[in-house]
Symmetry: D4
Subunit: 148 residues, 8 copies
């Protein structure tokens, strides 16, 4: 049984790489997926492929929808959705992904600093686990996948 794990949220630190490394070292049967984490490519994909826009609203709109083709599939196929909130930016897309995953009955694990506990309480309330460090994500996956 392979596990599909989607890594949603913050794109400015190497938390995804840490998790990927941990999974590899543990030899877990996990397929990781993620949004496009190249910020510029992600912002520009719509207009670059489908044509320029004068209005920044429509530029954003086109890009967000192209990105959604990828993220919707990834969440729909995921067994576990890890949602990472960092210190910076508003990260509404991460919270949106969490809500989307919750409605589909996916197991959610949030990953954030305790200082964000109060504003994230509704998201944490929908989670199966609330972690602070990437290695805890790896530990959870090891436990639920490998333990006998």
């Amino acid at each position: 049984m392979t596990w599909n794990v989607y890594l949603s949220g913050e794109i400015h630190t190497d938390w995804r790489e840490q998790i990927a490394r941990g999974i590899e070292e543990a030899g877990l049967s996990v397929t990781l997926s993620a949004p496009v984490t190249n910020h510029e490519a992600s912002d520009d994909c719509g207009v670059k492929i489908l044509g320029e826009e004068d209005e920044s609203f429509w530029k954003d709109h086109k890009g967000a929808k192209v990105n959604a083709i990828r993220t919707r599939k990834a969440i729909q196929e995921a067994d576990v959705v890890v949602v990472r909130f960092g210190e910076k930016y508003r990260q509404w897309n991460a919270a949106f992904d969490a809500g989307y995953a919750a409605a589909l009955g996916k197991s959610i694990i949030t990953l954030h600093d305790p200082s964000l506990t109060h504003p994230l309480k509704e998201v944490d309330a929908a989670a199966m686990a609330v972690a602070e460090r990437p290695e805890q994500i790896v530990e959870i996956l090891k436990y639920v996948i490998q333990h006998a």
Copy 2:
């Protein structure tokens, strides 16, 4: 045919009252619902009813889950989910509600200042309409409900 409209998000301005007034004046057959908008009551409901907690994490957790009993029913029964983002606070619960509503196939209308367009692009991309002022919400409801 009655329409159920859930008003999610920001609780520090009177946008819900403006929409309610507009709906009443237009004589629309709409049932409005909303989260508990009394900030203190919302924060304290868990521990007040179910017992105190030493850790603020668990206080938040208990409260968020009690509130979810209300918000999940409201979103599940809604035809339209209006999600309002204001200037202040992180409002991750609003984005979470939007993701939850999107996965259920609800018609979403976002309501926010154009200055928030870029960080809200993923949420707007899932919306049927992006409004800036409460009266636009009323106009949309008038149009989709009353027009012949």
Copy 3:
């Protein structure tokens, strides 16, 4: 038991009125719904409520989404979806509605001239009945609702 019947498609003849009249005369417990049939209002609703657009693509896009708030609810709540194809225009929205209704398991009745049989074969194949005249729709509803 009330029946919800959505009347999708062509907006340039009075077929909806004919059906409504027949239902009233027969005293059937039917709630009819329809898209906004005022062509101009339907085309302009997006920009009129949510702000002008320079590009006609985005004008159409905004309008189509506002209209979809109405049509999606109507189809989702319908027991029967009547889809009317006339002689003029491409009427892709009618075929789109039929496909949407088919995937939701709704009972579809198509209403069109026999001359359109070949190009409509895929839509007719998903229908419970293929009618040529509005009074046949009324007869079907009388039969399925009133007969003992």
Copy 4:
């Protein structure tokens, strides 16, 4: 993760081949599917296999249902449904496929000339991307599948 992409609609130009070639050159992990694109075989399959009909309506009916066995499976298993509208014919089956795909929550990409924007606005409104040329479909797939 393999992607299933269903190519619906117009059968008189080589757009499917162009997309297939682009996918192959890019080395994407994509499984393409399509309706039977041999016009005569598609029209005749019902009566040829299941017996002649005197009435052309029933000939069409039988054929459309046999074809539906193929197209329903393809759409249900698709991650992305590309719907192509050409200049000729009424192509109601393409719009029907789009509606069917929309109700199932599939990511839709439309492919058509800008001259068709107005009559296709309801279909485009349900799409994640609106393309004009087959190579844009390939670019989108490259982006959502391969980008890191």
Copy 5:
């Protein structure tokens, strides 16, 4: 809480009337529904409303689909589906209704003579109760609705 009860199957004895009478005497909050039980009307509805057919296959086909508009709605809205099998005829439509109801998770009650136990074992296996006489159906409804 009102209960919707669909009475499927045999149309040549007065078992539906017996159940209706028992429900009325017991004052149960039950809405009964049934297929059209006039055999001739049921057989002829398709051609009578939608036009004659030379082939009896297509006459039957048209009629069965018009009848399905009624029966599908009735089963979909039912809380309980009672399926009655009599001594005569093949009654495949009754078994079809039972399978349809089973897949939708409806509570099924079968009603038949013990002599039919062996050929009906698959249908009975999907039922919540297997009754022999109409008054047992009334007793079950009394028990599940009225008992405190």
Copy 6:
């Protein structure tokens, strides 16, 4: 908006009456439902209505299925499922109801003494609230229904 609340579990104390009284005093718009709480009637309903059995297994089987007609409908229509565990008996049906409700996405509230926390941890983990006294159930309902 009316709330449907199903009261599952223990039948030997008056906790249902306490909740009913509190709801009435608070004037809440709540429809309560419950299994048949007359132990003997519940055990005997199957054989009494559908005929005696020699084997106690089949007596239990018949009765449990008749009771399931009632409880499945009640849980499926519930917004909130309260599951009460007492000190005595094994109460596997209560835990079964909780699992059933969880899979349907219902809001669960458990009601039990803290001494049962460890064996009930899996059930509590699926709940939106864990209460110890019936009046807390009433307080939660007051909060989620009436608060502004």
Copy 7:
């Protein structure tokens, strides 16, 4: 893309073998499934594995449920459900399977002699194709799977 085809119904002729042979000769990527077609094994499986019963009703009941473990999985995973009705026996299980498959949105193909058209009209009305001979099933599968 592999196709799963479930062969339901009559067990006294070699129609399944004919279809299997045709599929093999055509080199189609099809996985066939079927109920247990050994009549005696099918009737006895319940009591043989789980213990004898005095009452034939319960013997049948136990067996039908064990068999349902197999048939439910097969139908749920099927793309196409072929339902064969022969001249003998009541074959209510075949009609039940058809109803079950219809509610799940599976493509149904019926296989029967034209003499059964009238009593099978409700089942045929839910089918994508009505065949008379096993080789027609093979032709349909060839067409929908292999044709370009």
Copy 8:
């Protein structure tokens, strides 16, 4: 066709090993899954990975949720859910799993001593088979998978 079988419930005897051995000897194409059966590891996983708790309630809560990541996936992917009840402990998690599986339409097989028949009647009523010994589970799997 591979079968996924989830073995829920009692963890103090070797019934899972017996079933695994029987499946291996029979050469069945079955993938077995199970909860973590190391009692201590299961109880401690939450606090060990995610941080200590002062309150035993929250220790249990954290652990139960981490375990649920594993069990929910296993049940959702299962074709058959075997639920074992032993003589000791309250085993509410086993009954909860059964209810969860029932609502998802999984085939349930219970495994328990006849002395538990009465308290387990609601769970048994939702099962396709009620077994007393592990070898009966193997026999059922052999029958439904291998028999022709």
